[in-house]
Amino acid sequence: MKYVDEFRDRARAESLGRAIAAAADPARQYNFMEFCGGHTHAIFRYGVQDLVPGNVHFVHGPGCPVCILPMRRLDDAIELAEAHGVILCSYGDMLRVPGSGRKSLLKAKADGADVRMVYSTLDALEIARAHPDREVVFLGIGFETTTPPSAVAIATARAEGLRNFSLFCNHVMTPPAIRHILEAPDIDPAQAVRLDGFLGPSHVSSVIGSRPYEFLAERYAKPVVIAGFEPLDVMQATLMLIHQVNEGRVNVENQYARVVTREGNVKAQDLVAQIFEVRDTFEWRGLGSVPESALRIRPEYAAYDAEAKFQLTEKESRENKACECPAILRGVKKPKDCKLFGKACTPESPMGACMVSSEGACAAYWTYRRMETLAEMAADRAAAKVAAA
């Protein structure tokens, strides 16, 4: 059975693999965090890990928007759909994520709530126009690529006087999360030491530019290479990181210069700044409370803010204790370290968000490395038994 896709430039990939092998010092380990779930997916889809030497490791980061949304916020969205009777519009990825009591938006829909999968905030606006008698809430999730579309939706709603549209804002930002991983000792003090550099996200960086990463090089002495989405991009960027590490350089480099500039998409940034402001703190699954890491809607636009418009109840949302999603999102555990992987938790019947989203690490391991992972888990269990005996 073939899980991993071949790609046309196999020869080029292999030659890049050889260049990486030649550059990587066999006497040391290289741990690079790919922040973005899209990169995680590409690394698995194309088997990039197998094309680089064993001492070059990809540490999967928390850049999967579906994965990092804490259960409390999902429970809030379900409450909006069920108790407040709104039409709740959501990107498809979010629908199957289990909330409290394993209830998902899809389950709420099956129970009669009006939950609709949309491709774009444009679709949510269209639904609001078509149902002037109903409240329509868009569940806004994601990093800097999905925030501008949410900003446009609010600006459009205001311009049109579309008073039945609002946004439940859960938009988060990439640089503060990276800072948190390096800075917060309660997360894992060893992680900051262990990481040798970062692969910067592709499309997020096309919006924010490369400048917001410069503090990482300056303050934390970690090199960053912004990488395109294609497997060859990831490999090229990995080679650039290895060179920086070997030469003791810490720079922000841009492998994806054909799309990413230092300034980014200023028009999108201005729109976001007009509609949103920074929250003091926001809860992330896996990272806990991360200061100044998320956005909320400015008071001037409160009429379009679902959190201002609807009274949401206090909840005691508890994550499933056995689910290792939080540690996996911090990059300190792998899916094989989770007892639920492949047993209680599969994409068909997910226990945690990392198994739901195709950008989640667990889903990537399940899709592309299932057999290897299950074999490693069995070997780990056997070793533990021997050690205990």
Binding site: G63, V66, G92, T121, L122, P149, V152, T156, H203
Partner: protein, 83 residues
């Protein structure tokens, strides 16, 4: 959800909208996040919004690669599924 797909602008519409096409799928998208887009330009499309202009060469290369990996069909299906 993070993936953006290169599409070609085929017509400019009112209200900062445009018609684009990719792999036989024709769709109306928003140009609200970009300036100076012309018919024939290639843009990276993300959740219904053009995020960035790309060269034709870059667009074709990415599309070919996505097609090979089956990722193009997934993205197009997402676009088609919209109400």
């Amino acid at each position: 959800m993070c993936l953006a797909i290169p599409v070609q602008v085929t017509a400019l519409l009112a209200g900062q909208m445009a018609t684009v096409s990719a792999g036989g799928v024709v769709k109306q998208v928003s140009l609200a996040l970009l300036d100076d887009v012309a018919v024939g330009d290639y843009v990276l499309l993300h959740v219904g919004y053009a995020l960035h202009k790309v060269s034709e060469e870059e667009a074709q290369r990415t599309l070919a690669l996505m097609a090979e990996a089956g990722a193009l069909e997934e993205s197009l299906a997402e676009m088609r599924a919209a109400p």
